[in-house]
């Protein structure tokens, strides 16, 4: 820990004791506590590091005139100190502990009403409960009673913290044999240290908790609903956190009450009740008695009166993946019922037990609330598809058919009608929420077995949606995703007829001209994504890209995407650039000869990089070149790419947008990596030699030299030097890392004579200044002039250019390691340091009470 901090801390404590209200801001105390927590976490004893804290704590505890925030802070700090056994002992010895954690003490002082203090009390208690000593203190002081009272505190923050603390108490109370089950928190709970007496005390705690839960779970009046919900949440949490024997005890204690609660069938409690039952159920063996009772409870909930409750219960059962197959199968049937009723596709066979529910749900579907019910049904279809096929109420293909019919019913243009519930159509027609849920379900179902035969139907419906004037952009996006998913899983697209294809192409073409930019954006994205979909077999039995089969390939997509480069919306421009990169990637990988079209695109992209007013498009443009460079097997042999790289690098690194700069540096990194990994960097047609890596130093030097020269020529070195002095930290950091990489490769091999043969231009005034400054500091004598005069001799650099420097020299001269260490620290590290925090507190205190002067007046003077 900083010695300066240690020396200031006593003064800070003094300030806090005297004037808690004059803190620099509300978060100071939290920050202080965080700092203490960090110290404690590093393993050092907090008391050893800051001995003054005990004194501070006891002073505050005995003299409770401090403000509530200071009191709350002190309670938490006490907990933090007491979390270690040494600290606990010290606190106990000076009898602070009993006083601080005695609610009576605070009640008498009239401070307990303040939620701020209560939260401090609970959090302090929670922090301290890390070891057996603390637990026995907790038991002896009988703190369980006040803790239980706070479980349903009027302040939600207090109640929630109390819930957490109670869980921690119970975890600690578990017999050591089960400790291993529940993590390491109580590892320090020494088995031997548990005396008989304390064990009894702990069982007392458990009994009290059980009694409390049992009593509170039952809902006596409707006005107690929020309290009941809170208790159920607590119970669910406890059941998840505590280990088996204790969990069983708790469960047995409350199960009667739970049964009673289920029988009240109160809708608001359905979800929390389910959470409790499923939490309890998850860890139980199948044959134990409580498990049977829980399963029975779930059955009761699946047969409640209100359809929405039943569906929620069914959804929860499916989500929990619980093991009872009959229960899961029934839940799936319940969830599919709305789909069955709405579409009239008989997904479920006749089952008399569901008749009543069917009638109830049908009634519900005639009201506007049918939307949420149908969405609940659709959003759980992924869970249904995960079920074993023998538990499924119907083949998945049938579910797809029903969803397709539902989608048709939802489409405004469609005149489809169903054999199902007619009244529902008015609510779902044109409802984009239902449409999205159904498309989402359709996406998931693409993986189902045996659904490939409905591909044509799926394709028709999706085309209908893409064509529909009333489709919301988000629905269009989902439809596109579904097309890609379905096309991706169907290796055979021969079933898509020319007519279907034509319709699809028209729809895509139209959406590319949509008035809503979101729709245009989704379309452009789709064109790019389709290229990534797996290959398929088309009519000619040849392997073909889905994009070729559906859209006729690049001759269709590239012109559309080129149009989109002119879009007024920058998102669309950016998406079209990415899509172009995706579309052209295969040809780059194959090394296909460049077309005029591609050359035009490069020109357009350079224009974007130079002129586009929005960062998104410029970022995408740089990424396009990154994609090209990475996909290209031999970039150096692609003249257009290598011609573009210097322009992109020089323009990109000077951009105003830091992300553009960062992407530019990523491109530079790719070029750099390629330059040194390529065994023939000098020119593309050089004969490769197996002996390269075993060349003597002189050979290595010459290779490196030529690679370095290439890097300079391509503008990589200038970009890095420009980036390293950038005002955006991530950019400077990246550039610095790359320069270090370059130094690591170049400098060990180069000797002083060789390095002066490679020069680079220093772009930008700031880089110039920086290098000059270093020169003036005398670290090296006149890099530039020497380099250039040397160069003159060598005939490489014709004129003496003051901006021209030797690369190796610069790499050596710049203190890159120091720069890296500065850049890796976050930009606010100085302002966020503990020292700064402590000083702020002192300054604020001093400012609030300067002798004989009104601080406000000074402030006003300051302002004007």
């Amino acid at each position: 820990m900083d010695s300066q901090c240690v020396s200031i801390l006593p003064r800070v404590c003094g300030v806090l004791l005297v004037s808690g209200s004059s803190l620099p801001d509300d978060t100071s105390l939290e920050k202080l506590l965080d700092w203490f927590t960090t110290i404690a976490q590093t393993g050092t004893s907090l008391l050893e590091a800051c001995p003054c804290l005990v004194d501070f704590v006891s002073k505050v505890a005995f003299d409770y005139t401090s403000g509530s925030s200071i009191l709350s802070f002190t309670l938490k700090l006490t907990g933090l100190i007491g979390a270690s056994e040494d600290g606990f002992k010290v606190l106990k010895e000076c009898s602070v502990l009993k006083l601080v954690f005695n609610p009576q003490h605070w009640q008498e002082a009239g401070l307990w009403e303040d939620p701020c203090l209560r939260i401090g009390w609970i959090q302090g208690l929670k922090m301290i409960l890390k070891h057996s000593e603390a637990l026995s203190f907790f038991a002896q002081a009988d703190l369980i009673e006040p803790l239980l009272q706070l479980q349903t505190d009027s302040s939600l923050f207090v109640a929630s913290a109390a819930n957490q603390t109670l869980a921690q108490v119970l975890v600690l109370c578990q017999s050591p044999s089960s400790v291993g089950h529940n993590g390491s928190k109580n590892r320090d709970l020494e088995h031997n240290s548990l005396s008989m007496e304390s064990t009894q005390n702990y069982s007392g705690i458990i009994t009290k908790v059980s009694d409390y839960l049992n009593k509170s779970v039952v809902l006596k009046e409707i006005s107690q609903l929020p309290g009941s919900q809170q208790i159920l949440r607590l119970l669910a949490m406890l059941l998840v956190r505590v280990g088996p024997p204790l969990r069983d005890t708790l469960l047995l204690a409350v199960i009667n009450s739970l049964e009673e609660l289920v029988s009240t069938s109160c809708s608001q409690l359905t979800v929390p009740l389910l959470d409790v039952i499923l939490a309890a159920n998850s860890g139980l063996r199948d044959d134990c008695v409580p498990k049977q009772r829980l399963i029975r409870l779930l059955w009761v909930m699946l047969n409640m009166k209100k359809p929405v409750d039943v569906m929620q219960a069914a959804a929860a059962v499916l989500r929990s993946h619980q093991s009872d197959p009959a229960l899961s199968a029934h839940s799936a049937r319940v969830l599919l019922l709305p789909l069955d009723i709405v579409t009239g596709v008989s997904l479920l066979d006749e089952n008399s037990t569901e008749e009543e529910l069917r009638i109830l749900i049908t009634e519900q579907l005639k009201r506007k609330s049918c939307i949420s019910m149908i969405c609940l049904c659709l959003s759980n279809i992924p869970q249904i598809t995960l079920m074993a096929s023998d538990c499924l109420p119907c083949p998945q293909r049938l579910i797809v058919t029903a969803i397709l019919l539902l989608l048709r019913l939802c489409c405004v243009d469609s005149s489809s009608s169903s054999a199902g519930c007619v009244e529902v159509v008015r609510f779902i027609t044109g409802n984009s929420k239902v449409q999205k849920c159904a498309l989402e379900a359709l996406l998931v179902l693409s993986k189902s077995p045996g659904v490939k035969m409905v591909l044509v139907e799926v394709f028709k419906v999706l085309t209908e949606y893409l064509n529909s004037h009333s489709s919301d952009p988000s629905v269009l996006q989902k439809s596109y995703q579904a097309v890609i998913k379905w096309v991706g899983v169907c290796p055979d697209l021969s079933c898509i007829t020319d007519q279907l294809r034509e319709g699809f192409i028209q729809a895509v073409r139209k959406r590319a001209c949509d008035t809503r930019w979101e729709a245009r954006d989704s379309t452009v994205e789709f064109l790019g994504h389709l290229v990534g979909a797996p290959s398929c077999w088309a009519f000619t039995e040849q392997e073909m890209e889905p994009s070729d089969v559906l859209l006729g390939g690049r001759s269709f997509t590239v012109p559309l995407l080129k149009e989109a480069l002119q879009d007024p919306e920058s998102y669309v421009r950016a998406s079209s650039i990415s899509a172009l990169a995706q579309t052209l990637t295969p040809s780059w990988q194959d090394g296909t000869a460049l077309t005029q079209e591609q050359e035009d695109i490069v020109t357009q992209l350079q224009e974007v990089l130079f002129q586009d007013s929005e960062g998104f498009a410029r970022r995408a443009a740089v990424k396009y070149f990154i994609a090209w460079f990475s996909a290209c097997s031999s970039p150096s042999s692609c003249w257009l790419l290598m011609q573009s790289v210097p322009t992109v690098l020089s323009q990109g690194v000077a951009d105003l947008d830091w992300e553009v700069k960062l992407h530019t540096l990523e491109l530079a990194e790719l070029v750099l990596d390629r330059a040194f990994s390529d065994p023939s960097p000098s020119h593309p047609y050089a004969v490769m030699s197996d002996q390269d890596h075993r060349l003597p130093i002189a050979g290595q030097q010459s290779d490196l030299l030529s690679s370095l020269k290439n890097l300079v020529d391509w503008g990589v070195v200038s970009a890095l030097l420009c980036g390293v002095v950038d005002c955006d930290r991530p950019v400077a950091l990246k550039a610095c890392q790359l320069l270090l990489k370059l130094r690591g490769i170049v400098c060990p091999v180069m000797d002083n004579t060789a390095d002066t043969r490679v020069f680079c231009q220093l772009a930008g005034a700031s880089m110039m200044q920086q290098v000059r400054k270093i020169q003036e500091m005398g670290k090296d004598t006149c890099v530039v002039s020497e380099a250039c005069s040397e160069a003159d001799k060598e005939g490489i650099c014709a004129s003496v250019d003051p901006e021209c420097v030797s690369v190796c020299e610069v790499l050596r001269v710049l203190d890159l390691d120091e720069k890296l260490s500065i850049l890796t620290q976050s930009s606010d590290h100085i302002y966020n340091s503990p020292l700064s925090l402590l000083q702020d507190i002192l300054t604020a205190a001093a400012a609030s009470s300067p002798p004989g002067q009104d601080p406000r007046q000074e402030l006003v003077m300051d302002c004007y």
């Binding site: 243009d413 005149s415 008015r426 027609t429 009333s470 139209k510 949509d514």
Partner: protein
Amino acid sequence: MKLYCLSGHPTLPCNVLKFKSTTIMLDCGLDTTSVLNFLPLPLVHSPRLSKLPGWVSKDGSLNLEKELKECAGRVFVDSQPEFCLPERELLDLSTIDVILISNYHCMMALPYITEHTGFTGTVYATEPTLQIGRLLMEELVNFMERVPKAQSATCWKNKEIQRMLPGPLKDAVDVWTWKRCYSMQEVNSALSKVQLVGYSQKVELFGAVQVSPLSSGYSLGSSNWVIQSHHEKVSYVSGSSLLTTHPQPMDQSSLKNSDVLILTGLTQMPTANPDGMLGEFCSNLAMTIRAGGNVLVPCYSSGVIYDLLECLYQFIESANLGTTPFYFISPVANSSLEFSQIFAEWLCHNKQTKVYLPEPPFPHAELIQTNKLKHYPSIHGDFSSEFRQPCVVFTGHPSLRFGDVVHFMELWGKSSLNTVIFTEPDFSYLDALAPYQPLAMKCVYCPIDTRLNFHQVSKLLKEVQPLHVVCPEQYTQPPLTQSHRSDLMLELQPPPMPYRRCSVLNLPFRRRYERVYILPELANSLVPSEVKPGVSVATVSAVLQSKDNKHTLQSVPKAPPVAPSKKRKRVMEEPPVTMAPKPLLSGAVPLEAFLATLQKHGITEVKVEETADGHILHLQAEDTLIQLEEDGTHIVCDNNEPLRATLRDLVLRFLQKL
């Protein structure tokens, strides 16, 4: 009160309301869908159309080669197109007092009603309605007169022959009443009967009713009408819109508290959202132009076109269509574009404020200024020299049977690069295209109908709460093609009264009150007495004078002393003015107090029996019954007049006299 329904078309209504002593015609829409049965009138000689084969029945028994032509499997009448007029036999059109016009689309039958029928009334309309209506009529006449057809086909109309014809011709109704287009002279004469009105202006009709137009938000100057007397209110809602397009927003609140609301002119495209359609229009247009094709938009020369141009104004820059020429071709194109800019007071708030800047309210002015939009009266003349492709052409008529659009269909129909985009909802686009088949050009149907949809109208009706709603029968059931859409109909409680062509409805409410004025001197003589707090009553004797549907109570003239006559008959004829009316009684007889009073008067043996309406007192000793009821008291007392009189006086003590 009666409603005579002369048109079955829900958006081109023509109804006659008989209310009090007035006969009011509400709109006179012209159903032009009949023209779809006719061959197009080409502006330039069309070899294709002239070579169409004549129609002969399969067995050869019927030969109408001259009148009917076959094209792509359908039969068309080769004659000047004719329109289906409002019913003219249901009532005598000369009895109509006034015609109220709600918008320029609903007045196209006006010359058929006002001319040659003996009509002597007045037509009321707003200024934009009159001016733009005149333009549309002028355009229609121009379209027809430009391409005169010598022959007029009538044989096919023969009932026996029509029965044997194929396709839609066979099912066409009342073909004998179809009429050719009116002349410009008739238009001028009809429009000379129009009297201009402003929104919310009150017009008295014969002192019986007051009519007043309200903004309906559908088109420039479009209005709904309120027809009210002192105690009754009938609202007539025709084409109305709640969308924020160019016209002034709809005035909804003035429709409140109507006894009857006649609802017509809802959207013809309940499932097509106008915004979505506008988006479709733009994307299809851009798609075609980018591919190097031309776009043809068959449309009316006023109305939605203003919105289309405004939408395109924003869209062309963003879609890189800046260099594409837009042409608007109509005999009235110039007037229509200019008129729209001068009716500032009839425009929505946004556009009104522009006028004060001063800027033209519609951006098409800028399109014209920058030469992006050019307008021509017809394809002949300047247009042919300046015409550049690919381009976008807006022209009429949307039925594709006459007007410059026929030429462009012939010109561009053969190329699949071109697109025709239908934006007017009045015609089925498939029927419109029938005589042009086979057609290579792409067809897109983007009907833009901004009128109220069912959702909006049910919200509106909930708001204004009329007692009864009358509407075309089409609104009381879902559309035939979407019979499962129960939301595409009016669901009201009580259910709306449906009408169809030729219906005569007795409107379901009775007039119960009439306003009567009292002259001041008569009012002065009244002596009101308070019957309960806040309510005073007085009796009045007066003479009722009715004149011009106004009723006034005047003092009774003092009859000059009449010389006694010998004839008894004359004495009887004397006005009963001198007879003082019996005082009116009010109040209730309190039982307990009454019993006490009876006892005071020595009547002690009273048996009280409770009945549904009050009490029966049985005075046992006197053998008399007193029935005390809410609205009457009866004393049943046989042969004891003094007792009856006593009892009567006792009862009267508890009652107030007026």
